[in-house]
Each structure stands twice: as C-alpha cells, then as structure tokens.
Point group: C2
Chain length 294, copies 2
Amino acid sequence: MPARLNIGKLVVIGTGLIGGSFALALKRARAVRRVVGVGRTRRNLAAALKLRIIDEASQDPARAVRDADLVLLAMPVGQMAAVMSAIAPHLPPHAVVTDAGSTKSDVIACARRFLGGHLARFVPGHPIAGTENSGAEAAFAGLFRERNVILVPLRETTAVATRLVRRAWEICGARVVKLDAAEHDAILAGVSHLPHIVAYALVNVLARRPNAPRLFGLSAGGLRDTVRIAGSSPEMWSDICVANRDALLAALEDYENELEQMRAAIEGADAAELKRMFAQARNAREKWLVKKRR
Amino acid sequence: MPARLNIGKLVVIGTGLIGGSFALALKRARAVRRVVGVGRTRRNLAAALKLRIIDEASQDPARAVRDADLVLLAMPVGQMAAVMSAIAPHLPPHAVVTDAGSTKSDVIACARRFLGGHLARFVPGHPIAGTENSGAEAAFAGLFRERNVILVPLRETTAVATRLVRRAWEICGARVVKLDAAEHDAILAGVSHLPHIVAYALVNVLARRPNAPRLFGLSAGGLRDTVRIAGSSPEMWSDICVANRDALLAALEDYENELEQMRAAIEGADAAELKRMFAQARNAREKWLVKKRR
C-alpha cells in the first residue's frame, strides 16, 4: 500500500484522457481535496465538470496555479513551452510540478528554459498508459492500474518532490520506474512512437485505394488490431513525433531497413528466408508475452 | 437459415486452425457424418482426434480422398501443388473440392495444372478468419461466425459444386461473397498480407535492440495489439507472401512511400503536415469502424 497522500489543490492542465484519469483516481482514493482543470475548449471542460473529474474549470493556467499544491501538465507536448512560461511567474514556491508528456528530453529542455526557478520541484514523468480515445469523456479512474509510470527526476529535483509524485502515481495503481531521459526517449520511440507511425501509414495506403470501402469491409481482426492506435489523437501524436524526432528517425530507419530485407526476400520468392524472419519475430513476441504474464 | 446439408465423408487436409474449425462447425450442425483429417505430423493429428475434431486420421491424402464427398484443402498454400497432384488421380468424380488458401490466383494456377480433370467440382475459396494461434488445439466451432468467406468459382465450376461449398460455409455461420481472383489477391494483400509484414518487421527491429527485455517490459497495449499477428504461423505466412508476391509487392511499395512521406515530415519537424496525415488515417479508420458496426 502506498503511503497516504493529502493534496489540497491539484491543477490538471489538459483535462483529457490522461489528466482526467489522474484526477479521477486521486479523487476516488480521497488523496486530493480540490481539482482545478485547465483546458483550451469550453466543451471539454464542461464535460470534465459534468463527469465530476474536476471541481472547477479555468482557461487561464497562470491564474489556476496560484495556490496549487500539485500541478500536472497533461497537454500535448507541443504546448509545453507556452504553458510553462505562462505558469512560471505564478507558481507558489511549495508547489510540485510534474508532467505526463510522452517525450522527456524536449520537455526537460523546455523546463530548463521556462521553469528555471522551479526546477527543484519539477518531476518529469510519463505514464505508459492510454487508449486510442481522447478527451475528458475517455477518462477513467482505473487507467493507470498496473501500468508503468516513468519518472525522470533532474539533478535539481528534490527527493521530497519526487516522493510526492511517486506516491500520487502509486495511489493511481501504477508501478513507478526511474529512467534517464535519453533511454526513455529511445525506448518510447520504439515501443510507442514508431508503432503509431506504422499504424497511421497502413490505414492511409489502404484508404487511398479506389475500392477502399469493399476492402475495409473484407478485413478482419488482424487489420483491426494492427491499426487500433491509428485512432489516437493526431495533434498529440504529431507533437510527439516532432518532440522526439531524433530517436524516432533512428527507429524508423531500422524499421525501413527491416522492411527492405523482407521485400528482397519476397521479390526473390525466398520462402525459407521469409520463414526465418517471421519465426524470429514470433519467438521474440512469445518470449516477451511470457515475461509479461509472470 | 441456410439449407440443411448432409455430407457423408469430409476430408480435411491440414487439420489446423482453419480446417479444424470448419470440421467442428459442420459436426456441431450435424451436417457431416464422418471427418477424416490428413496431416503431416502425428502429434497434431493425435490432438485433432483427441479433441474430436476428426474421426479418423491419415498421413496419406491420396488414400484419404478415395470415397470423399467434400475435400477441404487447408494446408499452407506452399503445399497446394504437392497435395493436388497427389489426390487428383484418386478423387471420386462426384467429390467437391474447395480450399481455404489465403491467395487465389496461384491456387487456381496450381489447380489448372494438377487438378485438370476435376475443375468442374473445384470451388476456390478463402475464409477471412483466423487468430494468431495455429494447430488443431487452436480450432473452435465459432471461428467463422459472422466472418466473410470469399468464393472464386472458375468458369468451369458447376453451380451445384459452388452451392454445396456456399452452404457449408453458411452453416459455419459465415457470409459468402464472390470475387474474382485478381481483386481478391489485391484486397487481401492490403488488408491481411501487408499487415503481417508490418507486424513481423516491427517486432524484429525491437527485439534486436540490446535493451530489448527492458523495452518490451515498458511497452503497453498499443504495441501489443499492433504486433498481435506477429504470432501467426511463419510457414503459412512465408508461403502466402511468395504466392501473392506481385500484389503484395505493390502494396508494400505504397506503404514504403507513405512511410517516406511521414519520415520527411518528421525530419522537417512539420507538425502540421504530420497532423494532417494522422487525421486522414484516423478519419478513415473511424468511417470504416462505423460501417462495420452497422
């Protein structure tokens, strides 16, 4: 059991799937007294209020953080610079700030630029959770249960701040793992950012065919699962791809090389070589799934 | 309700996921009296017998088809030539032969070469169903329920033979759709064969990284679903890729071009262009899913 937590005012900037689920989980555990949600659109904030994800809505992050105890930055990473520079002059000294951005090197660079005076209380983080749905309506308290949350504390971050954020995620049911920013970004480029590119690209080539409706009509579970994440937020994912550009380009290059090898084997009608490559993939996947189940 | 069917002896060559599920569904509907399973390995045949998927096992297709009423060829497509040439001299004149091969042009070419005297009773087919598991143990009677089965009758195929095969699949719970072989192969290259390549290649590039165990450990549902079909049979899928080479290479080229466009946008940090491409994919996927639910 994680230690009890008593957060007076939580400010969630970006009350979508991640921010909303974080707020719901902490509320359900009675670990927070009041949640203020900050967002860009009235529609989503109204939904978050109605669903009791937040107690109060605001479109002004600077105003909202004035008496905050914990601030979660859960907007698309492309908005980090604007939000950090807006809130920095208004953060109370004791307030702990964390984020849920899918990339870490760029968020940290952004924090060093705009959150300078507050780095001791900034705990970069990334919950490895989500669904293909977005917005407050998609939020649910159980989203982080048994999921990994990666924390990437800076050398300036105090142990007290890190401990608070770790506790909050543990109360949400998550496992907390510490990584450095470069390793985080390389791993996520592989297991998350590249798969999104792969899925979006696959849907696009099929949708462009003249017989696309018939084609999708004849598809089965294989395609459906392979492209499930092509339902993810285009804005969030275009930001992530740009923010994690270098690691993603490296992963994409490896992937394109692998495809080229498979293409060569298909061209050469080399069933034995294809079978070898496919068996390698199947074995790796099975080993991974067995470990996951343990 | 499909019309009743009374098949005396069904011979299933390849008693794996597809052949086994076909046998189970027809048995459950009491549409068949006796099922003979033909396979290459005693282990799989023993499992099929134990699970009562088949009533009798044989490793000799020529012998097994001698008094058959319906023969389903459900081995990997790479074995079509060998099996067709083995059974052709022994098929009783009235026996209807169909197949479950994932490619149609090459199976038809094979039939024209090896099944020549029997084309009037040959009904090329393809059930669009499957899971990432293979073998008799993976078979279940409900596999084809509400799935599409594509039939590609030849100009030589009699209406009686087509009707029998159609009824059998309808009894399994499937919807039967007729297509010509070229359209079938182009569609399947897109919705099935290319996604398998995509998934196998993705697992391989990740598994090759030195920190692969940690990386897979930090992955979530997105990767898991995207690569589910990388668990599929390497032998079956290498055969399919070679058999449907031309259509698959065309689909793969489109896919690589799409990836290149995404790569260019990432390199140029062009979030707007990425967002446009991702939104296109998300919209196409949503349109498709809405139609599926209807």
